[in-house]
Each structure stands twice: as structure tokens, then as C-alpha cells.
């Protein structure tokens, strides 16, 4: 079968893109290969590990479980939109300060989940934080420092407002 393609319009991190893509290409692959936004990581490609989490219209989703053509007309936000190396997002700074990452592979997905989670639940309990992180696999940290980083980030965001 010839490779079916389609032209789509995506807004990624506030910038409009028009791309002609194979219909079977996942959003994760398009972000990385076509838009060179390699902050979004690809781990399991079956929706388990959470490394590829991005926002679709502001809500966290697995970009490996979304065809890029399905994002046609929608807005996508990736970890590149959170902060810069010079000026980290408060959640990124909290991860840095609390050693909430080691190899960093899982971190972009976790950041996208945590920023959205704290927006909805600004003062979560430790139990709620653990539940919010359940959709992410980290093989380095043992999660303790990630949970501490999220607690710290919550304090920073609340005291900022």
C-alpha cells in the first residue's frame, strides 16, 4: 500500500506549522523528527512510561498514543515551552534543587504532568502527588526526590502568587 499522507496545521508552543505527514506518524515522532523538538522523549511507545507526555489543548496526553493528524487544528505544548536554561520554570528549578532527576530521560514528561497537576491542585498531599506521578516510570531516582521536588515546587508556586 502506498503511504497515505495528509497536510495538517498544528500550533506547537504558540507557533503555527503546516506539515505534510504520513497519517500513521505519531505526534511524538513528528515533534522530534519534523520539528526537532527533542525535549519530548520516546520510551516505551505503548503508553506506559510517560516520557512522551505533552499537552494537547492544555491537558497532558501521551504523544506516542496520538497520531499527528489527530492534532490537526489543535494546540500542542512541549517541555521546550516551560523555561529556558537561563530561566528555569519554578517546577524545573525545584527538580534541579531537590535532585529530582538523574539521567533525565523521564523528566520532560514528568514536568509536563506536574505543571498541569499543580495548576489543578496547588496544594496536594504526598499521597496525591504519588498518584499524579503513577503514570511515569523513572528507573534512577526511586521517586523519593521527585516527590520532594513536587512538594517544593508546590510551595514555590503558591508563595509566588
Amino acid at each position: 500500500m502506498r503511504e497515505p499522507t495528509r497536510t495538517v496545521h498544528l500550533e506547537v508552543n504558540g507557533r503555527p506549522y503546516t506539515l505534510t505527514l504520513p497519517v500513521r506518524k505519531t505526534l511524538a515522532d513528528v515533534l522530534r523528527e519534523d520539528l526537532h523538538l527533542t525535549g519530548t522523549h520516546v520510551g516505551c511507545e505503548q503508553g506506559v512510561c510517560g516520557a512522551c507526555t505533552v499537552w494537547l489543548d492544555g491537558e497532558p496526553v501521551r504523544s506516542c498514543l496520538l497520531l499527528a493528524v489527530q492534532a490537526d487544528g489543535h494546540s500542542v505544548t512541549t517541555v521546550e515551552a516551560l523555561g529556558t536554561v537561563e530561566s528555569l520554570h519554578p517546577v524545573q528549578q525545584a527538580f534541579w534543587d531537590n535532585h529530582g532527576l538523574q539521567c533525565g530521560f523521564c523528566t520532560p514528561g514528568i514536568l509536563m504532568t506536574v505543571v498541569a497537576f499543580l495548576r489543578e491542585n496547588p496544594q496536594p498531599s504526598r499521597e496525591e502527588i504519588r498518584e499524579a506521578l503513577a503514570g511515569h516510570l523513572c528507573r534512577c531516582t526511586g521517586y523519593h526526590n521527585i516527590v520532594r521536588a513536587v512538594e517544593d515546587a508546590a510551595h514555590r508556586l503558591v508563595s509566588r502568587t
Binding site: M1, E3, P4, R6, P22, V23, R24, K25, T26, D29, E45, Q46, G47, G50, T53, L56, E59, P60, V61, R62, C64, L65, L66, L67, V69, Q70, T113, F117, R130, E131, A132, A134, G135
Partner: protein, 293 residues
């Protein structure tokens, strides 16, 4: 690219979607939230030659209370049901169970009808549908039919849906006065499929159970409703005796298969323990006027 090659359609009307299914059944697969289908495509365990994406069917994006029913259209995401205060009042069992479905990132995309149509016997929503006596509304280009939940699930990942049919709506009955409900689950990690989950409902009068519903996920090829155990709850006047009897019936009546996640004996043990806990919680909630703490 991980998924195999397929033709892709994203119709904007239900009629167009049904024509596509009729023309291309059985090679065409419906793509809703994609949280089960995309992993199958990425692993190439499924190789449909055509996908009919229903995400642009705005007409199926409704969540309404209509008479005694909660009507959930095929485009409604699980997260919307989870966040809806009306659902918590109207169908508290559904509201409680939906938090066990995957993770927020999955529920932001996954649909209620998609989970039902996928018919995974370890999934939460099919067990809820069976416990409540929900109706599945299937449509093809010739018309509609309603399928009771207990007839809908026919085997692992198999349902009564025909290849040219779309599950356009799931209808959940409103919880009647006097009933209390509880959903409990044990899984290896929060968000994993259930090793065993129990959906329990009881109607309580003068502290005694008058009617009961019990349905299970993870312990059979389809969601299991256990009528003998329901009867055991009703036959004993005193709660503690009823709970002892229902645990006995759950152990006797369920025959789960073992796998790498849990042995058959462990699953049966879980079922008995969860049955008692869920029935007690449902009883407490029924006495509190059906409200969840």
C-alpha cells in the same frame, strides 16, 4: 514509524462514519481515544487496513442526565466524567470507578464508550456497566439497537458489536433512592489493570440489605456478575452474617485464571476480601443516604 500502514478517515458526521464502517467492515477499525488501539498498532498486534477516527464527531460529545439515565456519547473523554459533579450524584459508582482507569494522561484522551467497546475483562468500566445494568447503544446505517451490558461482553476483547456498528452511546441508570455503591480495586500499581476489582451496590432498609448488585473485573473472560453472592447478602438479616456469607459465595462462585501477575488462588482471595470491604462500604453509604464521604 511504529504503526503499520493504514488508510485514515476522520469523518465529521455520524452518518458518514457509519457509511465508512459499512463500506469497509470488517477491515476498518474505529479509533476513539486511542489509548488501547494505538498501543496495539505500535506493537503491530493489530493491523487494520483502515481507521475511522470518530474524534471529529462533535454530535457524540454529550454527557446528559435524561429521565432516569446518564447518557454518555461516544466522544466523551473519561476525564470529563471524572470531573463532572452531576455524575457523582447521579451515578456515584461510575464516578468512583473512573479514577482507577489508567492515569490522568490516559483519561484526558480515553473515552468511556471506547473502553466499553474494547471489552477488556480486567478493565473497570465494563464491570461498572454490568453492575448497574447499563445499556449500550449501537448504531449502523440502518438504525439503532440497545444491548444490555450483560449481553454486550462476549469474551476477552470481544463484544456483541457488529463490524458495521458504532457504539454511539452508553446509558447508565440513575442510582435509585436507598442504594449505596462502592468500587474497590487491587492492582500492582495505581493505574494498572485490576488484578481484581469489585463493583458493589446495596439497597438498605432498617439496616438490612434488601437488594444487591455485585460485579467483578479481572476474574473471568468477561466482567462477572455474581447473583449467588448478591442473594447471600440479601438472605441474612444482620450485616456481619451477610458479609460472611457473601465472602463464601465469592470464593465458591469465581474461577479466575492465574497469570504472571497473580495466581488463581490469590485472585480468588482478593475477590472475597474486596467483596466484603465493598459491600460494607456500600452499606454504610446507603445508610448515609447514598452519599460518599
Amino acid at each position: 514509524m511504529k504503526p503499520p500502514v493504514f488508510q485514515y478517515h476522520d469523518p465529521t458526521s455520524v452518518e458518514e462514519a457509519l457509511e465508512l464502517l459499512a463500506d469497509h467492515a470488517p477491515e476498518a477499525k474505529v479509533l476513539a481515544g486511542g489509548q488501547s488501539l494505538l498501543p496495539l498498532l505500535n506493537l503491530r498486534l493489530a493491523r487494520p487496513s483502515r481507521l475511522v477516527d470518530i474524534n471529529r464527531l462533535d454530535a457524540l460529545d454529550y454527557l446528559v442526565e435524561d429521565g432516569g439515565w446518564l447518557r454518555v456519547g461516544a466522544r466523551v473523554r473519561q476525564r470529563r466524567v471524572e470531573r463532572d459533579a452531576g455524575v457523582r450524584r447521579f451515578v456515584p459508582l461510575l464516578a468512583e470507578a473512573i479514577r482507577y482507569v489508567g492515569h490522568p494522561q490516559i483519561r484526558n484522551r480515553g473515552t468511556v464508550c471506547g473502553s466499553l467497546a474494547h471489552a477488556d475483562p480486567a478493565a473497570e468500566l465494563p464491570a461498572v456497566a454490568v453492575a448497574l445494568g447499563a445499556l449500550m447503544v449501537a448504531r449502523n446505517r440502518f438504525g439503532l439497537r440497545e444491548i444490555p451490558a450483560e449481553e454486550f461482553f462476549t469474551g476477552p476483547l470481544s463484544s456483541a458489536l457488529q463490524p458495521d456498528e458504532l457504539l454511539v452511546e452508553a446509558r447508565f441508570p440513575r442510582s435509585p433512592t436507598g442504594w449505596g455503591w462502592a468500587f474497590l480495586e487491587v492492582s500492582n500499581r495505581h493505574g494498572d489493570y485490576a488484578l481484581c476489582a469489585v463493583a458493589a451496590g446495596v439497597r438498605v432498609e432498617a439496616d438490612s440489605v434488601r437488594e444487591a448488585r455485585l460485579a467483578y473485573a479481572g476474574v473471568g473472560p468477561v466482567p462477572v456478575r455474581l447473583r449467588e453472592a448478591e442473594l447471600a447478602l440479601v438472605q441474612e438479616e444482620r450485616l456481619e452474617e451477610a458479609l460472611r456469607a457473601v465472602a463464601e459465595e465469592a470464593r465458591r462462585g469465581l474461577h479466575p485464571e492465574g497469570d504472571i501477575h497473580a495466581s488463581s488462588a490469590f485472585r480468588r482471595h482478593l475477590a472475597a476480601v474486596l467483596t466484603v470491604r465493598a459491600a460494607r462500604l456500600a452499606w454504610e453509604r446507603a445508610r448515609a443516604g447514598g452519599h460518599h464521604a
